[in-house]
Structure formats: C-alpha cells, structure tokens
C-alpha cells in the first residue's frame, strides 16, 4: 500500500497544484484555509482512491462492457446502463485498507470538531471543470448532514457513481471523451452547526461604499437571512479601522435549525426573549469583517459571503465561511469619477459651495 497522501488529504494539504488529485472544489478550500480563511474543516478523498477502489473491485472492465450497450439514439439504453453502473459502484465494497484511511480521517475530524461522529457534507469535487462528465458530477451531488462512517462511505460511493449519470455518459460519448480517463475526488467537510449565521458583503450593498463591510445576521442557519424571511441584525463595519460605524438590531421572528433526530433542517419561531437580542456580539462581528477583508483580498474583488458561527466549537466563537461569490451589483457598475476633475482645489471648493450642502 502506498502512503495515505495518495488517498486522503486534509484540506490544508490541498492547493491549486493538487487539482488533478483532489478536484477544483477541494483544492480551493485548501487555498482558502492556507490564506487563513476559516472554511469548515475536512478532507479530500483523492482520485487515486477512486481508481484504487475500481481496481480492487475489478470494476473497470465491467463498466467498460456495460458502456458498450449504450446506443446514442436510444435514451432508454443510456438510462439502463447508468443505473446498472451506479448500482455496481454503490454496492461494491471499499477494501479495508482504503476504508481505514478514510475512517481514520473521519474519526480525527470528529475529534477536531469536538463532536462524536460529526455530521458532514459529502460532495464530489471534479478534477477539471472543463471535463463535462466531471462538471455534471460536481454540480449534482452534495449530501448534507451525513453522520457515522457507514453512511459516509455509502455517500462517497454515491459521489463516485455520479460520474455515470445518463447525461454524463451521453455527453462524454458525444464529445468523444474516454470514459475511463475521467476521475473524481470527494470532499468530506464538517457541517456548520450554526448558532448564528448570515451573509456579509465586502462593500455596503445599500450605499456602494467600498470601505464598508455589511453583515446581516440571524439566529440559526443562514437560510432565514438569504431568503429574506426575517429582519436580521445589520452591522456596517469600517474596513480600515475595523470599528462598527452603524448597527441596527432587527426584530427576529424565525430561524432555521437542525432537527436533532432526523438531521433535517427545520424552521422555528425565535424564542421571544431572543427576538430583539443582538445575535452576534460586536467583537465577533468585527472578527467576521476581518475575515471578509481577507476573502476580498484573496479574490481581489468585492465578495458576497455566506458565513456561520459554529456552536460545536468550545471556547471563543468559531467563525466559518460557507460560500463566497463575487459581488455583482456595484462591481458591475460603470466606473466614473465621483467628482468632475478640476484644475485646483479652489475650483472644487467654489463648485461645492455653489452646489450647497443637501443634508438628506
């Protein structure tokens, strides 16, 4: 057996160099962590692990044989083949040596997170976004709130098998890609068990002020903020000095949380005593803004970020970054000078005086 580095890697051990091994999504999580951006911890199951799995179960030839039955003009044949291959993969056994690596990492992740059998997200991570099969897989398969090794292993196989959806098969055939060259990695990532969550913009979305960070926050998961179902607490934080320049506490009536029994997300009323209570303390809001600044710096543009404060981690509040995407509204506006250029300060002063000062 080769070293575990071939099969499992902590996100911290991934970077853009390792895309071929861990896929784009896992690699970028590694990049973020290495830029000190606190994404939820986890690990990648490499493409080599996938290959080893196929090898150990002698699946490669079987899959090849099955794929021969696909006829490009017969949709039914594709569906049937897809189903057969996926069943084949999902029912195969992950051999003990590989299973040990994966389960050992899961155990260590649980320990790191201070949660026994920590709930995780299991998601596929494509090795190259321009590979169509991979991109289908990458988009489709994310499994949330997976708990315990058995369930995790089953869902890893589901991710693997997602390479063989009917759509993916047809697409590869049409484009002339070789099926057995396509590889897939899987990411295992702690589910943020949000005490408080919300969104953050590294530009004030209301005013377009690039020196401000705007944070909206509510109790529980961020869904209530993203969907606009509640009036969140709002913070405006100065990027340069890191102080809160504006704050309003919303009347928060609903929150989303996890049902402890069936692990699904449920909507609840906010207990009345918490409805008007600030859900992120000032110090955490400021800390969050600092993370926002790092993310903006990392991507070199204003960002729209989903975040959570995790309740599993003991001690001081643990900020987790769940999603970041480029801000589009202000960033795509045409850039024009704020003030008409003038030859001297005096001309500006004169023009300013004449224009008057409209307060509001």
């Amino acid at each position: 057996m080769e070293k575990r580095y071939d099969y499992v890697l902590w996100f911290e051990e991934c970077d853009l160099e390792s895309v071929s091994l861990v896929g784009g999504k896992n690699a970028s999580l590694g990049e973020l962590l290495n830029a000190d951006i606190p994404v939820p911890p986890g690990f990648a199951i490499t493409t080599k692990a996938y290959s080893l799995f196929l090898e150990q179960n002698n699946l490669k030839d079987e899959i090849k044989t099955l794929l021969k039955q696909v006829k490009s003009d017969d949709v039914e044949s594709g569906e049937k083949t897809s189903k057969a291959i996926r069943e084949l993969i999902e029912s195969a056994h992950i051999h003990d040596d590989l299973q040990d690596y994966i389960c050992e990492f899961y155990r260590r992740l649980s320990k790191r997170c201070h949660v026994p059998a920590v709930p995780v997200a299991v998601r596929s991570s494509a090795t190259a976004e321009d590979l169509p099969g991979a991109s289908f897989a990458g988009q489709q398969d994310t499994f949330l709130w997976i708990r315990g090794v058995d369930s995790m292993l089953n869902h890893i196989k589901k991710c693997w098998s997602s390479l063989f959806t009917a759509r993916a098969i047809y697409y590869r055939q049409k484009m002339g890609f070789v099926h057995d060259k396509v590889e897939i990695s899987v990411g295992i990532q702690k589910m943020a068990n949000a005490w408080t969550a919300g969104v953050m913009f590294t530009i004030n979305p209301a005013t377009g002020d690039p020196a401000s960070i705007a944070i909206d926050a509510n109790w529980g998961f961020g869904e209530s903020v993203v969907s606009g179902e509640c009036t969140p607490d709002n913070f405006i934080i100065n990027k340069i000095t890191n102080d809160i320049t504006k704050k309003s506490i919303g009347h928060k009536t609903v929150l989303y949380t996890r049902d402890p029994e069936n692990h699904c997300v449920v909507k609840q009323d906010v207990p009345s005593e918490r409805a008007d209570t600030q859900c992120v303390v000032d110090a955490d809001a400021i800390q969050l803004a600092k993370v926002g600044k790092q993310i903006e710096k990392h991507y070199g543009r204003p960002m729209d970020i989903e975040w959570a404060i995790d309740k599993d981690t003991p001690g001081k509040a643990k900020i987790l970054i769940l999603q970041s995407r480029p801000e589009t509204v202000w960033s795509e506006k045409k850039v024009e000078p704020i003030a008409k250029p003038r030859a001297s300060a005096l001309e500006h002063i004169c023009a300013g005086l004449v224009a008057g000062r409209k307060v509001n």
Binding site: D243, T245, C350, G352, L353, K358
Partner: protein
Amino acid sequence: MADSKFPSPHEIEAIPGTEGWERMYPYHYLFSTKDKERKEYEKNAFWFNDALHYPEPMYPFDIIWDEAWFLALSQFNTRIFMIPPALGIDHRIINGNIYITPVPVTDPEEVQKRIPLFMERAGYYYENWDKLHDQWEKKMKGIISEIEALEIGPLPEMEDISVVKNGLGTSSGYELLKNYDKLIDLGILCWQYHFEFLNLGYASYVTFVDFCTKAFPDIPLQKITQMVAGIDVILYRPDDELKKLAKLAVELEIQAQFGEDTKDVKDVISELQTSENGQKWVTAWDDTKQPWFNISTGTGWYHQDVSWNDNLNIPMSSIRIYLGKLKEGKNIDRPIERIQEERKILIKEYRSMLKTDEDRQTFDQLHGTSELVFPYVENHMFYVEHWFHSVFWNKMREVAGIMTDHKFINQIEDVWYLSRSEIKEALWDLTTSWATGTKGYGPLHWPEEIEWRKGVYQKFKDNPPVPAVGTPPEVIAEPFTIVLWGVTNESMAAWAKLKEIGDPDKVNEIEGFAGSPGVVEGIARVCRSVEDIGQLKEGEILVAPTTSPSWAPIFQKIKGVITDVGGIMSHAAIVCREYGMPAVVGTGQATTIIKSGMKIKLNGDTGRIYIER
C-alpha cells in the same frame, strides 16, 4: 422636516417676573412683530440656540463677543470673500439666549456673479496661506501686547504735577474714556482677525468632507477630520506644558511636596522655594505662565471663565493628576506616534479605494488644501478665546474697579450686568462728575438696576431655552453652520423628538453625533461648568454642555464624554479622539436628561446613548 415642529419665535413669552428684560440687550437682537416684512423673515427662518458658545444665558456685557462675531463672520462671507451662496449669520435673543440663522443668497444669478469674485479673493488667501498666516500671528500677538500694555488708571484727587510740566493737555478722566474705548476696540479687532481665515478653512474642509462622503457614503465625519487634523496643535500646548512640569517635578524628586488638592497653590510654591530643586521647578512654572496659562476654564466667552493664571489651583490640580499617573508608571504623553500612524493609514487606505485617477487627483487636491488650512481652524482659539479674552476680562475688571470706587456699582463682578455702551455712558457720568467736583447720577441708578437684572438673569438660568424656533429648512446650505454647530436635519429631528417627549425622565435613548469611536458603559457625572469637575470620579462618563481645553486633564480620569452641543470639530470630540476615548457630541439636551449617578452606555460609533432606568 417641512412641517415645523418648533415654535414661532414670536410666540415665546417673557418668563414671569422678567418683563422688560429687553433693555438689557441690543435693540436689534429682539424678535419683533412691528413690521410685517421683518416678522415674516423671522418666522420663516430657522433659528437655533447657539448653546455651543453660550451654554448659559447672556450677560449684558458679555454679548460683546456675540456682536463681534455677528459682524466679523458675516462681513467675510458677504462683503470680503464673496462666498457665492452664503451671506452672514443673523442673530437674535430670546429670554437671554442667543439664536442664530444662516442667511443664504437666494438669487441664482447673484450666486453666479459672486463666483469669479470669490475665486479671486479666496484664491489669493489659499495661495498665500502660509505667508498670510504668519502675518496673522504677528497681528494677533501685536494686539495682545497692546491690550496687555493698556493702563486703566484711577482718577486722582489732583493730577500729578507732571501733567503741567509736560504740557500734557489731557486728564486721567479723558485717559479713562479713551482707554475704555481702546479696550473695546481691541476686542472687536481681535474678532475681526478671528474670522480672517476661519471661513475659508471651513469651506475647504467642507468640500473635502463632501467629496469623501460621495466616494464613501458610510464614512464617519470623524475619520475625515482625522485625515486633516494637525498633530502639533497649539491648543494642546498648555496641557503638554503641565505634563512637562509634572515630569520635571519627578525628575527633581520634589513630587511629595505637591500634596493634595486641599493644599493651596501658594503654600505649595512657598514650600518649594525653600529648596534648590524646588526653586528650579518654580522658575519653570513661572516661565510657563506666559502665555500657556492663558487658558480659559470655560469656552472663554464668558467673563466668569477664569483662566489658569487667574486661579493657579486649577493647573496645580492637573499637575497632581499627572503626578499620580506617573507614580502608577503610566505614560501621560499624547500618543502622537499612534495618532500619526493612524492618520497615515486612513489617508492611504481611503485613497487606495478610489476607483479612478481623476478621483485620486481630486482627493489629493482637497486633502492637501484641507491639511494646509486645518491647523488654523484648530489653533485660532488659543489666541482669541483663551489668551486675548483672559487678558481682556481682567482689564475690564480694572475698569469695574474704578466704577466700584466711585460707587457706580457695588462690586467688580456687577459690571457684567451692564452693556458696553451703558458702561461708556456711566464712565462719562463718572468722569464728568469727577471733573466737575459734583456727585454722579450713576450711584443712584445702576446698583438698583443691577439688582433687578440679577433677578432676571437668574430666572433666565432657571428656564432652559428651547433648542430652536422658526421654520426648519429642507436643507441647510451654509457649510460653516453644519461643521461648527453640528446642525443637520438629523439633529434637528432629534431635538424635535425630545421636545415632543416632554418628560426627560422617560427618555431612555439619546442621539447625538459620533464624536469619537468606541463603546463604554459607566456612571454618568453631569458637570455644568469647570467648577463641577472636582466631583468627577475615576472611570465616570462626563456629561457637559460643552468642554474647553482647560478641561483637558480630566480626560485622563474619565471613560467617555457626552456634550449637549458641538459638532465633530468641537473640543470634546477632538480631545476624545486624541485619547482614544468614546464621545457623543451635539446631543441637544443630554445634561437635562441624564443625571449624575445614572448608569449609561455610550456608543461613540453610532452616536447613541442608552440610559438604564
């Protein structure tokens, strides 16, 4: 804000028992319904109580400074620099309190006509700022030495023989009249100079503020101010000198002899004189007095705002505070490096967030000019309100001394109940009767009138003024008003709200301007004047009508500051930013609502104050 939430100025009634108060003040300061046009003008303007300068009602004499700046500010706007859209600031008085309103140029064509004039005139000042400013400093120092040299002599029974032998041709009576006029004239002149640069300074600052606010809609005013504020500002010197003296005492190992505040400064000094090191320190102390102890304990606008030189126990007490801090091993120096570093970062970071080269050029132009003019905005107060005024009040006391000698008034401090023209008349009465060898009429008239005026004044004091009267405008265009008094639609709305609530005991939240960032919770201590600051305990939050540089040492003791009046450039805001202490300024009525001992939370980031009841 179109619907007026403020009373009409003509509706305010005299406080019972003060009827006839109007004769204490200049006639043209009165709101009047006699003439229809004037009445309409007064009703439609928005008059706010200038509590920044006058936290207390006006004494008939002290109104001299109000008249002085009424003339000076207005003339520079209207007639000298031709500020295109803004004329002067008009003044009125109600029940002893000053109300002011900025007067705009309403005709757009007139505004256009004034533009090239303004460009030429203001342009000359901006271009030659340093040269003109040096000249200004010389002029100021010149009139200060003139006023210091002014002799207010008593009227002798018989003139000295030298009057005859020198062929002088005039008498002490004439000299008294002449020197009184000279004294008043120097005061008015000082205020002419006061406004020579001020409005241009504010114009530049306001333009920079507007640009920054457009580029960064969320930028707090205090950050903009931080980017242009001077580091080595003369206004900090007196306080720095006290720190130096405290350090010198430690160095000379004589700090034990300073004792507690119960020990009078005279005893401290005489005890120090007995040792060589003590003498060294006393020499340094004496050298510091001129000019650095010419710091008023108030705004400098009132006669009762004595200077450190008038009451040496005040600077001595501050030195004791610094000695205490030094004993605890604390650094008492202003954190200049930190301030400089913060300033540099702010400028660099904000500039870097601008998106176009054009904007960076505008930023540099406006920042450059503001940085050039701002030290004046900060420094002029030392020369005028502190140094000059301190000398002026004492010269006036010499005049009052002669009036007391001749029984025109019962005591020196009664003189403030007379206007400056009444004093002039009284001096004529006094000198002519002295010349004639008869009894003056003054002793029969003034003491009685002063007794009545004292009663009226007390009633003015007991009845807090309404914050504003008249019709609030949609916008306020006069930039100086906004910067200096912090009057904006927001603060007017807040004042109106307070007025509506009516019962100050039911208010739990007060809003003002975020003067200096940070959040602090603690016990409030309301100090209406510098005399109350002795009650302040370590770690309390100071609540005051306004503060002045002489309050500086107590900033070492407190956790936060709240003022009734003042914008971002008020003394309290400047000093709090220096000390990194939260402040909310321009709250309107904090001293009315908050009581000493209340637990309050002050948020200098948002400008809000929460009262725990």
